[in-house]
Amino acid sequence: MTTKSLYNPKAMSTPGISARFSGPLKALGAVFKRLSSDVSSCFGLVVIAILVLSAIFAPWIATHDPNLVNLPNALRAPDAVNWFGTDELGRDIFSRIVHGTRITLSIITIVSIVVGPVGLLVGTTAGYFGGWCDTVMMRITDIFLSFPGLILSLAFVAALGAGLENAIIAIALTSWPPIARLARAETLTFRSADYISAARMQGASSIRIIVKSIMPMCLPSVLVRITLSMATVILTAAGLGFLGLGAQPPLPEWGAMIATGRRYMLDSWWLVAFPGMAILLVSLAFNLLGDGLRDALDPKQR
């Protein structure tokens, strides 16, 4: 653009540029396009899509009732009828894994719904206000961070009682601190930016600045972090299930399935192998998707 045209308002209206980037939907489309162009994040996307679809259509996909006990049929090796074999009570393992996606997915969804906003709020407020507010909030975060996640969840589950709901609460309680840390670090880099000063000069309240100016800047990295921590969440949930503190029988939770199958593992490998593979695949998928998202969302890479 020549300098002369800067004076001419008509020459500056080039709608072509604005049409390209006209809203969050298009931006989402661009992110999606970037994700699907990369092989490993594409794999992650496909696995997660399968996970979601099988959770939605579980009753139609499953070949058997996941809780139907059929003792004469116990511990059958994989064959044409029972694709992944049957467990010690004769229940179809394939159907149980398919129904287990619902549990896994609900754990992931609830944890990320709780953890994202909490971590974001704690981190951005601490970072924006600084001073004693920062100190208090970050020391609390440090205390949570200094416990190993699984041990802290164990303690919470022990205090609250075993069960899927309590396991979800325990996992949520242990996975917000890294996100708060991240959001605070990001906020510290933005808080003295001129656009924050400009917002303050326009009379915006602190809450308005945090929600409207700071949170959108932290969101991409927080989103990536949540996706990457999903793998840990799945593993922690499976671990709690394995220890008998998460989902209770007869719920087809993958970790609990491995725990009960452990006793028959030497003779009937399929009891442990298939739920284990499901856990592996889904955690791997979330890790790969997180990596892909980081590349797609990182503003420094554009």
């Binding site: 300098t3 800067l6 209206s13 540029i17 604005s18 980037f21 400009a198 000069m201 009379g203 100016s213």
Partner: protein, 252 residues
Amino acid sequence: MSDVTVKGLTIDLGTGSAQKKILNDVSFAVASGESFGLVGESGSGKSTILRCIARLLTFWSGEVTIAGQPIAKIPGADYCRVVQMVFQDPYGSLHPRQSIKTALHEPLRIHRLDHQQECMEKALLDVGLNGSFLTRYPHELSGGQRQRVAIARALILEPSVLLLDEPTSALDVSVQAEVLNLLNEIRRARKLTYLFVSHDLAVIDYMCERLAVMQSGSIVEIMNRSELCEGRAKHPYARELINASIEYDRVA
């Protein structure tokens, strides 16, 4: 009436032997409708004075009044409609994830003003842009266009005092001239009071009726434009600065 007076503005950092005076007893007065320049080398505290007046910094002592009222006593919501600021870096002063529409809409929403759409379009027209810019994002604009948007945002609340923190130093020379002309036109049309910070004496000479020369946190001399042009500066540092500037122009 929007005259600005600054009396004994001082900022001390640290204590004891490590104490450092960032601003040392700065006093000046700007009449309503006047354009007042602050010059000095980097680190001399010019921008800090603006940030104090903008109430972005709070740890200063002294007295700043606008139209006779101490600025600390003016409620926040009213203050935004009296004083606004244009920042140095047009790349850092617009939120990278907010469209121009959001940037201009926010102040209107905060202050619950009417006719918001017309207001935004008029604000853009006033700075030589048009309504089609509303849907764009800062990264789609050139530096000069961004600075125009920043000026539009500062003017949308119709302040009477505009603080300009080197508004053109990040722009290249031809665009710089356009933005300076725009600022002059706006001042004439709206009878604004300008506080203009720059390290460029030529820009100050073009924009301001009076100026203060600053050195390490203090004002060493206040003079008017004719004194600057005729080289009648009294203080040795001011003379040195002016000579250096003339020397530089000759070389360049």
